[in-house]
Symmetry: C2
Subunit: 351 residues, 2 copies
């Protein structure tokens, strides 16, 4: 974690060629943000389109509903700890949970490449149903399209979710305040490294398993215990570093981290060092940060640790006032460095 973030050869970022889509436009970094600003926000406006958060909250007939959509293009389809099906369910449930919503319904849409084995498709849909059952969520409608061989890549899955907010809180990055504490629910980097190892056929002493998991129940526990999180954010593309940078920018604050408090397992650390990755930027699919008022931090930590998805929870940092938003991290010997946002992506097609 002491190395500077590196871009792999897989996603070069040419300097003067922004008229075409690059892999790095999908990486959760500054290039994706620029694309969102230049294209999507220009067209769709800034009304209810909330790009600074994982899901959007709308009012329908007096109910506050959260909506979110995600397409999954992960490669390989099956990896230690999950597959594109369970990931598509967890990912969308987690985005709903980041608004504090109870997930209710999912839609599922498939873009299949000609020649894809139907047995593998069945394995994926079974996995989706199992993941949905575990979260008491229903898959209520779907769609199937088929494209010619060579015009897709096995299968892409879109899941779109609807959840209900059963509380009056407004959980979003803009509510972050100086002195708020930052908590994380466990070790980082496992999803990205599990997929990477599978993709590249790497073998380590112990198999690294993806952390892919649903986070809604953990979040609902926090709310039921009377905690008032100012912001929740799951740590997918771009990892912890990108999520914290987005939050700092949205709230206009500085976030101060202690490296020693950020959990990373030894095997993930070793794999990252070998491959030249920084775990701070590696995607997770079952990890979130919880930003709570200072005085609620200990209780939040206790509630998180008592939940299966938060056993490894830690307080990793604090929010501070700042003239310009940034994320700083103090390392083990007391030196402080800026944790920047990447422009592109370390690992393409990680979700």
């Amino acid at each position: 974690m002491t190395t500077q973030p590196k871009l792999t050869a897989a996603c070069p970022v040419p300097k003067n060629d922004y008229d075409k889509i690059l892999l790095s436009h999908g990486g959760g970094g500054t290039m994706m943000h620029k694309l969102i600003n230049d294209v999507f926000l220009q067209s769709f406006g800034t009304g209810d389109l909330n790009t600074q958060h994982d899901s959007t909250v709308v009012d329908i007939s007096g109910a506050r509903l959260a909506l979110t959509t995600d397409s999954f293009v992960i490669k390989p389809l099956f990896f230690p700890g999950g597959d594109i099906g369970s990931l598509a369910v967890h990912g969308t449930i987690n985005d709903l949970a980041m608004s504090g919503a109870r997930p209710l319904y999912l839609t599922a849409s498939f873009i299949l490449e000609e020649g894809f084995p139907i047995q593998e498709l069945k394995r994926i849909t079974d996995s989706m149903q199992k993941a949905a059952d575990a979260c008491h969520v229903q898959i209520v409608t779907g769609d199937t399209k088929v494209v010619e061989k060579g015009k897709g890549d096995s299968v892409f899955v879109n899941t779109t979710g609807v959840g209900i907010l059963e509380h009056a809180q407004n959980i979003c990055p803009k509510r972050i305040r100086p002195n708020d504490k930052i908590l994380i629910n466990g070790d980082i980097g496992r999803h990205g490294m599990a997929v990477m190892a599978q993709r590249e056929g790497l073998e380590f002493d112990t198999e690294i398993k993806s952390d892919s998991a649903p986070l809604a129940d953990l979040v609902i526990n926090l709310l039921n215990e009377g905690l008032e999180p100012h912001c929740l954010r799951d740590l997918t593309r771009g990892g912890l570093a990108s999520a914290l940078n987005e939050m700092a920018a949205a709230a206009g604050v500085m976030i101060s981290l202690k490296e020693a408090d950020i959990p990373v397992t030894e095997d993930v650390k070793a794999a990252c060092e070998m491959l030249g990755f920084d775990p701070l930027y590696v995607a997770n699919e079952g990890r979130l940060v919880v930003v709570v008022p200072d005085h609620q931090a200990d209780k939040a930590l206790c509630v998180m640790r008592s939940h299966a998805q938060g056993k490894g929870a830690m307080i990793i940092g604090q929010v501070k006032e700042a003239d310009s938003p940034m994320v700083l991290m103090q390392n083990q010997i007391g030196a402080t460095r800026v944790v920047d946002m990447l422009s592109g992506e370390q690992l393409p097609r990680i979700c």
Copy 2:
């Protein structure tokens, strides 16, 4: 329209190779139904997953909401009368409308192929916003993924929609009754032939334009005028013939059509004859059938014709009791033929 439906060389249907996805699995015919039954219904169960209708209705906090999802893989992206963006908005709005819902919110998710020109993406998102504005629908959240060159095809768009039912009616195929009348809102086959002509670089005397259009307002007019449609169905993949066959099967009835009453423009007729297509099976994106009780047919026709999207409305047939579900059509000289469902697809990637 007197020719038998033909399968083009583009989508052969091998007899003994159903372990892999074929293009015809995406065609809206019997092979797609088999895939839905063998894979999706097997995994997802038959709870709220309503495969016999375009959108699903769920209850949330006392409100009846319609949900629907659609991925769009149409080729080419731009065609006379529309593009993948306007189509993605109209298609999903129309699916909501088929439950009698007022469309409220859309999500938009993009799978981009590396190298896709950003200017074309902007043209598509602008078109989406224009179509959404015209329907008073908001695009509230989105997602972007990028895949390597050769692993996608320019851009795939998923739109998922949420609408609200402001009436107590239950509009679905199972409510179809003998003696009900079948109405259509205009001429058939234009979307499919417009896309086909563009794709193949064909030129006709007059340019055939897609019928792509939003149908929610027309449907809401019908409901506001006190009409009680038993079923509504838009005529996308598989065209009028597939939609009527699905409805007949779901309701266990016979549907009797008069060929002379089904509107087809001369240019579509000519293009279909030249290319060996049957307009009954060609996809539409702004056409629906309305099934109403016999005594409401004239009023429904009048309401439809007074709306911009129903100027060419016609009563095209009637529901009859039957031992086994089927669709029959009487041609201009009085002969009757069975209008079967195709197994595969005439035109791949039409939506």
